[in-house]
Amino acid sequence: MTFDFLHFPLPGFIEDALRFLAADRTQQIVSVVLTLLVGFILLRILMRVVRGIIRKHSDEHTSIVISRILFYILGAILLLVVLQSIGLELTALLGAAGVLSLAFGLAAQTGLSNLISGFFLLWERPFRVGDLIEVDGVVGSVLSVDLTSTKLRKLDNIYVRIPNENLVKATVMNITRHPIRRMDFTIGVAYKEDPARVIDVLKKVAAANPLVLDSPEALVLFQGFGDSAQEFLFGVWFEKTTFVAVRNKVLCDVKASFDKEGIEIPFPYRSLVAGSGDPIRVELATKATGLVLPSTDKQ
């Protein structure tokens, strides 16, 4: 069959495709569909097997990376084989693919950028599936690292999709990369308290908590004189999975120890000054001072 009625020359592979479609090749079409279907199913099975094998010897992230790369390569080969089997000239197709990819690339710049960024992420591995990360103020655990985007689950179970390009450009903080972390507390005590005693009490709080690591030692740093309190930085090391328990226990223990030792945790004091004169005098309203508030009792 010829396509002279079109009055312009067609690229070779399009002519091949049209000729293929024009001819009565039901059997061949069925064969192509079946090949693609069976090939795709076999590929999926192969991916599962490969992932299972790799996961036994390595981590989840590596298994995802290798199986996906393998999937795309084998998928492309399968497609080429099928196209060749129906008589499409692959050299012409590949030649046209260059021109098409340029046009497609310009049109899908963002998508391709995300795709390439995805490969960077998979290769560089700044985080893995299951890690808790912070990106641009979003904190969540990594659900999957796909080719164009990374999916997170925030701590309140909100699903977040972040384009890979953003991740490559942004500063990513991997909170759970290392098995242990330090948790910092800023603790203020009244100016009347002896700072050496406060340091001693805080060290005892750290030592008494079994969830707080003995080594590295807890950090107690006298940070300076705040508006209303002497300020201390109290940093305790802990195993990353015990975050909530450590935070609650340490704060409760600090409060209990300070109460027991009579160390005051102050609240801010404010002096009100009107104009340039003396501060406004404030007195308790009692009978002794002669200042008695109007009674609110219902007689």
Binding site: P179, I180, L211, V212, L213, S215, W237
Partner: protein, 266 residues
């Protein structure tokens, strides 16, 4: 009501209860026709002598409002359950107090008190002659620590007891096993030893003369980048007479015998 030693294997009949009390650890295990029940708690008073008794299910329980039972529904498939000793699930860091120095080409032996936990075990579904732990009850609340540098260290338990040069210096405790650890300094420099990190998963447990022992550990340090070589023997020291094997080590052979982190001097 018959009495037993702590690690005796006791077969409970239907509707029978085992009361296992060693030091301040209390475990109750009872059997119904379709399930095994268990609860544990830490007693207020430490027992000087271990006390293991069996009795009927109606025997009095302590009056504790927070006593909660767990149930394993096995039916008739698991004919018995035992309470057996177990080692903690992480490496153990022991200090030498005062810090010791091992000169070049010299050996030093340290005795360590390894905490022993109580594990409730049943016959393994795969092999009836082996046991599988269902629940491990810690005998002490061990403090966590990090051994090594921040990048490549290991999460461990820190022991309050210290490594001693003689076994007689360790307290006799029914929930503690003695581990004999020999260091051989093969380097040309003094080896300062402040802490020893012991891979608990390589420790087997034995009983001899009413005391628990682990298999021996041997460490040779070549110094420099060659690190240290660790080898775990199969038995306690030879001086221990007729050791009764209580529990296999979780890991027998180390994948990488060269462990830089085993010893942490300075």
């Amino acid at each position: 009501m018959p009495s037993y030693r702590p690690w005796d294997q006791i077969v409970l009949g239907h509707h029978e209860r085992l009361r296992w009390a060693v030091r301040d650890v209390r475990i109750y295990l009872q059997r119904d026709s379709q399930a095994w029940w268990y609860c544990s708690f830490r007693g207020e008073q430490a027992l000087l002598m271990p006390d293991v008794q069996t009795g009927s299910k109606d025997d009095g329980l302590p009056e504790k409002s927070d006593l909660s039972w767990r149930r394993w529904a096995f039916g008739e498939e698991r004919p018995y359950a035992v309470i057996r000793p177990a080692v903690p699930d992480r490496p153990l860091v022991v200090r030498t107090d005062p810090p010791a120095v091992v000169p070049p080409e010299c050996r030093a032996t340290f005795y360590l008190a390894i905490p022993v936990w109580a594990a409730i075990a049943i016959p393994s579904p795969e092999r009836a002659d082996t046991l599988r732990d269902l629940q491990v009850v810690p005998s002490d609340e061990l403090s966590s620590t990090w051994f090594g540098d921040l990048g490549s260290g290991i999460l461990s338990y820190s022991l309050t007891s210290t490594a001693q040069p003689e076994v007689s210096m360790l307290p006799r405790d029914p929930l503690s096993a003695v581990c004999c650890c020999t260091l051989f300094n093969k380097s040309t420099e003094d080896l300062p030893v402040e802490k020893i990190c012991l891979q608990a998963s390589h420790l087997a447990l034995f009983e001899s003369g009413g005391r628990l022992w682990t298999n021996e550990a041997f460490v040779s340090i070549k110094g420099g980048d060659e690190g240290s070589r660790v080898r775990f023997g199969k038995l306690p020291p030879r001086t221990i007479r007729e050791p009764v094997h209580l529990r296999e080590a979780e890991k027998v052979d180390d994948d990488n015998p060269l462990k830089r982190s085993f010893l942490f001097g300075r």
